[in-house]
Symmetry: C2
Subunit: 355 residues, 2 copies
């Protein structure tokens, strides 16, 4: 593998000195890019795009051709694992993901196998290897997975939910069954991420999209404990290079201390918490990734630059910050606004990294 | 007006000694009750139900006939104010509220009048007077309104939203226009709540359903500042009785300190924060209302009792707690589960109020 030409992202996650604050954007390979919409139309459906390594590689690289981003992220979906477990993932136009065979009982859970990443999920590993090769050391490649809790919500509810009534009823009234499911998912995610690392991922991120819907004790017991179980199993170094781990609980602002204590390298922050306050809370335990409100991207370059400057100032001097939005970029954004953000972060952050 | 036979709710909000922890339930007059669904069907549409004092009174009283609740809450909707401003509120079956004429410019906002509560909103005042009379002092009556920020989201987005893209673009790129709208709404809400107090409401609550979607500085500037403006204008005592004020920001767990500093009497808590931790944070500045996860109600009486006991224990000894869910009760809940909760809270809380 060629040497990394731009290692700002990795260094910031490890809180090592950098020249500028690195930036990447959640869903940077996505519908706001006309060239993405073209490949997506070509692929027909979303899962074909995810499961065809050539196409997944192409859309992963698209944003890097336009913008001076400091990392690439594998184009895939968090629900590949439950799909590989046999639940039958599908997407209906204009709706969220759905499963043909949701989970509803302890017996269903008993039957679930832990997918072999190099068999049922070989298409993901092929995409990782191919992207890594095509990147040719330009920037690092991020691998990712959904958190066990987040995956479990889709598997039990049968798709997206706002109230999580079925799975929460399970947590409250049948915790043992929930733990059996979450343990299986944690081990599956750990194996899956380790396989991505083996295939070439240089950092990994766990997306806990729905942890923020839980009570404080349930977050600890049913979400964070299983992210801890993943962190404990991950390959943290490969060929002499550290492989940083980022944990991101959307709506997790109340629990930053506990997340930092898992031994991960960095926390993803949504936009609700002030990044300066978050830094005070976590101290030098972890780096921080985030946290601009994605709604800023719908304004204009001047507003975007002002807000970027404000977040950089809130974080303050030194390394340990990876700039990002607090959630994925939305489909209606003009690419020019993304260029304005990326350039502003690089330009405005220089003074914070001078001794 | 007759004397209040059960003043536990008012006393708890004022942190005065009580014999048991009082309880009421957000949306206690709602679709989970068959008798509600009957009156709702009779009324035809939701706004007819809200705007017909006899019907609004009937559904307000229904849950009190079934359960030993410690407060009644006016049956109405938070969007009566924008409707009275001329935006044309309507509800489509199976969807959220919508406005025929959403707001989109400074000129639109300039044209908005502050509704006279005793003219355009006289139907609400008539309902309050009638309910108060029919309650005959059984329990206190809560009046309510939406927070300025929450009302503004519906008025600018034209209905419900998840991303709040239009109004957030206004906050980021045209704050002056947003402030003009919010100031008008705050003054309208204050007049509206004072008129409800005049008509007989014995406590008032401001529902900030969407404050939790904001960044920390935006929450302070665009939501909390205008709730403060309301608190500052409210009638806090009538005929020698204090009129407590409750502020509830869903997803506001990061900002409890600042909310407590507004001078309100109590904070509503959603279910994500631990009520014991919240109490430690706010000290003796305010009472707390909440905070069981509404998902518990879909389980069984034993689970409900266990969870109620756990929240009472987390709050601990002494007055200053009004038990409630952390959000509205959902339509599918069986009334027997509600009875189990109400009785458990009364029974299990006695030891916490003995000297």
């Amino acid at each position: 593998m060629p040497d990394l030409k731009n290692d700002r992202f990795i260094r910031a996650l490890l809180r090592q000195p950098v020249d500028k604050t690195p930036i990447w954007i959640m869903r940077q390979a996505g519908r706001y890019l006309p060239e993405y919409r073209e490949v997506r139309a070509q692929a027909g459906d979303f899962m074909t795009l995810c499961s065809t390594p050539d196409l997944a590689c192409e859309v992963t690289l698209q944003p890097l051709r336009r913008f001076d981003l400091d990392a690439a992220i594998l184009f895939s979906d968090i629900l590949t694992i439950p799909d590989a477990m046999g639940l039958g993932l599908y997407f209906e136009e204009g709706e969220g993901p759905k499963f043909k065979s949701p989970i509803s009982s302890a017996a269903d859970i008993e039957k679930l196998g832990i997918p072999d990443p190099n068999q049922e999920l070989a298409y993901v590993m092929d995409a990782v290897s191919l992207i890594r090769k095509e990147l040719d050391g330009k920037v690092p490649l991020i691998g990712f997975a959904g958190s066990p809790w987040t995956l479990a919500t889709y598997m039990v509810e049968g798709g997206s939910s706002r109230s999580f009534s079925k799975i929460k009823a399970m947590l409250f009234a049948d915790a043992k069954t929930a733990h059996a499911l979450l343990a299986k998912l944690a081990d599956s995610v750990a194996m899956y991420l380790n396989a991505q690392i083996e295939a070439g991922a240089q950092a990994v991120m766990v997306f806990d999209s729905w942890g923020g819907a839980l009570t404080t004790p349930h977050y600890q017991e049913f979400s964070l404990a299983y992210m801890q179980r993943i962190v404990d199993q991950l390959t943290r170094e490969k060929d002499g290079d550290k492989i940083p781990v980022i944990l991101f609980t959307k709506g997790g602002g109340l629990w930053l201390d506990q997340i930092a204590d898992t031994g991960c390298d960095a926390l993803g922050l949504d936009w609700t918490i002030n990044i300066g306050q978050a830094r005070q809370q976590v101290g030098d335990r972890v780096a921080l990734q985030g946290n601009m409100d994605p709604a800023v991207m719908a304004t204009d370059p001047d507003t975007i630059k002002r807000e970027a400057a404000s977040i950089l100032a809130d974080f303050g001097n030194g390394s340990g910050h990876v700039f990002n939005l607090g959630h994925g970029i939305t489909p209606g954004i003009t690419p020019d606004n993304v260029a304005a953000l990326v350039d502003a972060v690089h330009e405005f952050s220089i003074p914070y990294h001078q001794q």
